[in-house]
């Protein structure tokens, strides 16, 4: 068929040619496969990368430069695949995951306003995914609480309660996440905070009804235990101390684990201390807890509570001994140790040992600089000088405090610590009546921390300082005008406009 030469060439090169042809075919098929053919795969790739960036953010102490990359990664997924989500349920889930994770990341980075807005979006996206919808709605309530917006938190929890804690959905909801069980208790607490005692009582009654219903119909032992402890909390909030004690006694019979026993003993002691005012009984129970369960989570808190009783009763030396025990025995429980250190400083103040108290406060802010007590301690030293009328010493102490906070704000620290340090700088400047510096500092922060939106309200705070402390009306007006220009169309701009109208009237 072929001329001899050609045939021989084909045979000789046959194997080589066939390998080469195979390669070419394979490469051609490879080129045909692309992400256009599978947008879900491309979305998964982007989600994986965003998650990796999120991990880097967590490892890097929530540094803003890492954070913005991760946030952008998530936002791009939602923006790029939002449309495709309506046609493909897989992509819908991916977009929803990205939106939820974005909101959670912002929450962890303390970007509460952004986080709430993103949970709102997630709530809208999760029409067909009840667990995500419930999580988003509940989180909106938690954030509102964190922001101190009790009314908004109450509205969110009410929405949650209507949608997820109705009789027909209750069982499914508590299986999604048992913490949803505390919603009626939260509602009662928030209503109480908003001066609506009747509403609060109604929510507590509703909580009791829900818990009793679950106790009668549920069989899951973990869920039953969670419900019983919530019922106990309900009794405590209703100030039904005897019912509380009866339930504690019943729970003690039912739950024999050391962890449960120590918790119940602590609650019993608290009922006697705060509810019934039986301090000797409370002291005896705290002591019994520490003796029986020295390793329990509640043990250092029980000693702190007992020390508090002694302190309030004027038995300062006994209180001091117990605080000493906490710092000597529970070195790994930082929160308890700092509280003990703080109370020791306060007792020294009460005893009139100002120098000793100052040294103690200094040790607190050196060793536990990133705790609340650590932030508070430097100003406490200044306040003590101020109370004694030593103005120069107070001023020097505030300068020292400023230096300390500036170091914290400038160092390689977590975002939360830096923000806290900046807030304390402003407080220190204000307490030192350095109002112009305080106003300038306030105005510098929104630019330095653009992702931390609460600092945007600094314009209003600075304007108030210009007006009230510096009697500089034009400075206040200029500050408010800058705010309106910088954040047009926001609630903040509206508030600034209102202030402007008042000032220019």
């Amino acid at each position: 068929m072929f001329p001899m030469r050609t045939r021989s060439l084909l045979v000789r090169r046959g194997c080589l040619v066939s390998i080469a042809v195979s390669c070419a075919v394979i490469l051609f098929i490879s080129a045909c496969g692309s992400e256009r053919g599978n947008p879900r795969y491309a979305a998964e790739r982007k989600l994986f990368k965003a998650r990796k960036l999120k991990e880097d953010v967590a490892k890097g102490g929530m540094k803003p430069e890492f954070l913005s990359k991760a946030v952008d990664g998530y936002r791009r997924i939602v923006a790029d695949y939002g449309e495709a989500a309506s046609q493909d349920p897989d992509i819908e889930l991916l977009v929803l995951s990205a939106q939820m994770e974005l909101a959670e990341l912002e929450f962890r980075a303390n970007l509460l306003t952004e986080s709430r807005a993103d949970f709102e979006r997630a709530y809208d996206l999760a029409k067909n995914v009840p667990p995500a919808r419930a999580n988003a709605l509940y989180s909106i309530g938690v954030i509102a609480e964190e922001l101190g917006e009790s009314a908004a938190a109450l509205r969110s929890y009410e929405r949650f309660s209507e949608e997820f804690l109705a009789a027909d959905s209750l069982a499914g909801t508590v299986r999604m996440n048992p913490r949803y069980l505390v919603t009626p208790l939260k509602l009662a607490e928030l209503a109480g905070r908003l001066d609506a005692p009747e509403k609060s009582a109604r929510y507590l009654a509703e909580a009791e009804r829900i818990y009793r219903h679950l106790l009668a119909h549920e069989s899951d032992s973990a869920l039953l235990k969670e419900t019983q402890f919530n019922l106990l909390t309900t009794h405590l909030q209703q100030k039904r101390w005897n019912d509380g004690l009866a339930l504690v006694s019943e729970l003690r019979k039912r739950y024999d684990e050391p962890g449960d026993r120590s918790s119940l003993l602590y609650i019993e002691a608290k009922i006697h201390q705060d509810g019934m005012g039986d301090l000797p009984k409370a002291l005896a129970l705290y002591q019994s807890l520490v003796e029986k369960y020295p390793e329990a989570q509640e043990a250092p808190n029980a000693i702190l509570a007992a020390a508090g009783i002694h302190r309030e009763s004027g038995r300062l030396d006994e209180a001091m001994k117990l605080y000493d025990t906490v710092r000597g025995t529970y070195k790994d429980r930082v929160a308890a140790v700092v509280e003990a250190e703080w109370q020791i400083a306060r007792i020294l103040e009460l005893k009139g040992d100002a120098e000793g108290a100052s040294l103690q406060y200094r040790s607190i802010y050196t060793e536990f600089s990133e705790t609340l007590q650590g932030f508070e301690a430097p100003l406490r030293i200044a306040r003590n000088y101020q109370l004694k009328g030593q103005k120069d010493a107070a001023h020097a102490a505030r300068n020292q405090a400023l230096e300390h906070y500036e170091k914290l704000a400038a160092g390689q620290r977590a975002m939360g610590t830096k923000i806290m340090a900046e807030e304390y700088i402003i407080r220190t400047l204000s307490e030192d009546t350095r109002w112009r510096e305080a106003a300038e500092k306030l105005l510098s922060l929104p630019g330095r921390y653009p992702e931390y939106t609460p600092f945007r309200e600094n314009y209003l705070r600075a304007a108030s300082i210009y007006e009230r402390e510096l009697k500089d009306k034009s400075g206040a007006i200029e500050t408010l005008e800058r705010c309106v220009e910088k954040y047009p169309g926001t609630e903040l701009a509206q508030a600034a406009q209102k202030e402007l109208a008042r000032l220019t009237k």
């Binding site: 045979v11 000789r12 090169r13 046959g14 194997c15 080589l16 390998i19 080469a20 195979s22 390669c23 394979i26 490469l27 098929i29 490879s30 080129a31 496969g33 692309s34 053919g37 599978n38 879900r40 795969y41 998964e44 790739r45 994986f48 990796k52």
Partner: protein, 276 residues
């Protein structure tokens, strides 16, 4: 020691054979084919292509291969299974041709790729059968025998892996000379395997060294491929593609050295034994 040194010394002329570019051509083409397959796998995360890949590993859900990063995490396992088939179907011819090319260089004959491929092709059935037997023995040993023995002895995983590797190398050393016996002596597969076992038994330190050195070369990339999850999550899932390519490249170099060393050693030993 002298015998090990002699086996080590044989790698030098094997490397020098590179001057004859033709010796590398069959393995190079096979390497290119493997690269193309990696590329094909990396880009086939849609159905129906993913379905065909899933057939290679039983109990693998084809759906899992359309997801990221699962598709890339499964790559070493799936391409590893494909290797088993390719080794029997295609690699044997490539290896046989390379052995013949090394032999031509050693005998100072004209080095022709086409001639070697044709000669290898003529012995295809025996070569494929011998490769199938060797692969089956290694597969059974790694998948069943070693885990069962280690399990009954309560061996820790690290020790089990080390013992398994050593046993695998010993088995490979015994099969090592099957190719030259089929190609140079015209033996059938079973006879060639028997002859190889006897030959390797007589020259075990050398045979083991010839197998060990190329294996050491492939160790780093082999270790990388053992833990795809760690690579994907610590670096990036895409790095698995690069690791796979690096693995194939090291395999290509190691196979070239192994074939060169075994051919030259086999021919040299035969001449020594005949002239004795």
């Amino acid at each position: 020691m002298k015998r090990i040194a002699r086996a080590l010394g044989i790698f030098k002329p094997a490397m020098e054979s590179l001057r004859h570019g033709a010796t590398v051509v069959p393995l190079l083409l096979y390497f290119i084919l493997k690269l193309a397959l990696i590329l094909l796998y990396a880009s086939s995360y849609t159905k129906p292509l993913s379905t065909y890949w899933a057939l290679l590993v039983p109990n693998t859900n084809a759906e899992a291969l359309t997801h990221y990063p699962g598709h890339l995490l499964l790559m070493p396992r799936i391409l590893g299974r494909l290797d088993l088939i390719l080794e029997i179907v295609l690699l044997v011819v490539v290896q046989a041709a390379t052995v013949l090319l090394f032999a031509a260089v050693a005998r100072r004959e004209r080095v022709r790729v086409g001639t070697s491929m044709r000669a290898a092709g003529r012995r295809y059935l025996h070569l494929a059968l011998a490769a199938a037997i060797a692969s089956a023995v290694l597969f059974i040993m790694f998948e069943y025998a070693v885990p069962a023995l280690a399990g009954s002895a309560g061996m820790p995983r690290g020790l089990e892996a080390t013992a398994g590797t050593l046993i695998g190398l010993v088995i490979q050393a015994f099969f090592l000379f099957t190719l030259p016996f089929i190609l140079f002596d015209g033996y059938a597969a079973f006879k060639a395997i028997g002859a190889s076992f006897r030959f390797a038994g007589r020259h075990f330190p050398e045979s083991f060294t010839i197998v060990l050195i190329p294996f050491i070369l492939t160790m780093p990339t082999l270790l990388l491929s053992l833990n795809p999850g760690a690579i994907a999550f610590q670096l990036s899932p895409e790095f698995l593609i690069q690791a796979q390519i690096a693995g194939e490249f090291m395999e290509f170099i190691a196979t070239y050295l192994l074939l060169g060393a075994l051919t030259l050693y086999f021919l040299e030993t035969r001449i020594r034994e005949e002239t004795r």
